[in-house]
């Protein structure tokens, strides 16, 4: 299994509070991704990173920010959580890009409930 650790694994918080999720990898992969998974929507990309301090938006980035200060860590922050952000969040990593894409490998997710 790819060395990906997500923390926390479960979190319950209240509307309006800030929340930070962490993804840590031990594979030294260049690319890191944050997805959310919701019934009927599959996996949707929130933000991704293609290197330290290099990030870009995905299709559902509103209300989320990210930071990557080290190769191994990618943080996802909800500045002011809303109930619509209740979801399961997955981090993925990939050594891909270049001449051909490579598979993404996923962590086991963070289940976030916003009351």
């Amino acid at each position: 299994d790819a060395g990906i650790t997500q923390s926390p694994r479960h979190k319950v918080t209240e509307t309006g509070t800030p929340v930070t999720l962490r993804c840590h990898q031990t594979e030294n992969h260049r690319y890191m991704y944050w997805y959310r998974q919701d019934p009927g929507h599959g996996l949707r990309l929130i933000h991704y990173s293609y290197g330290v301090k290099d990030t870009d938006k995905g299709e559902v980035s509103d209300g989320y920010s990210v930071s990557r200060s080290k190769t191994e860590d990618f943080l996802l922050t909800l500045e002011s959580a809303t109930s619509s952000q209740t979801s399961v969040y997955f981090c993925a990593i990939s050594g891909g890009g270049g001449l051909s894409n490579q598979p993404q490998h996923f962590g086991d997710g963070t289940r976030l409930s916003i009351l």
């Binding site: 599959g42 996996l43 997955f90 890009g97 051909s100 894409n101 598979p103 490998h105 962590g107 086991d108």
Partner: protein
């Protein structure tokens, strides 16, 4: 707008039968098509993947069939087993960039 459309949403198959899940796409720039398997409480795990220069790829009981002209690809699970019961996602990506676009998932149940 869903870039990759997946069907069916759920599937029930008898043990030993063939499970077939279909995906369709519009963007002809997609050049990598992986399938992922997900068990409850776990992240998706890469099952098998194909590039558009081949029409079929087989790994054990799992086969991807790819129809470039129809812009469709499918996953076939031969001799389905109860342990195959999981959610399956197709995806597509474009080189470079490595952004994946996922289907909405198929919940497969294999009954003994």
């Amino acid at each position: 707008q869903q870039q990759v459309k997946q069907s069916p949403q759920s599937l029930i198959v008898q043990k030993g039968g063939i499970s077939i899940i279909n995906c369709a796409y519009e963007n002809t720039a997609f050049d990598y098509f992986p399938w992922y398997q997900q068990f409850p409480g776990k992240g998706p795990a890469l099952l098998i993947a194909i590039r558009p220069d081949v029409s079929e790829k087989k790994e054990g009981r799992f086969t991807i069939s790819f129809n470039k002209s129809a812009k469709q690809f499918s996953l076939h699970i031969m001799d389905s087993q109860p342990g195959d019961s999981a959610t399956y996602f197709c995806a597509a990506s474009i080189t470079p960039g490595n952004q994946f676009y996922f289907g909405t998932g198929t919940s497969l149940t294999v009954i003994p």
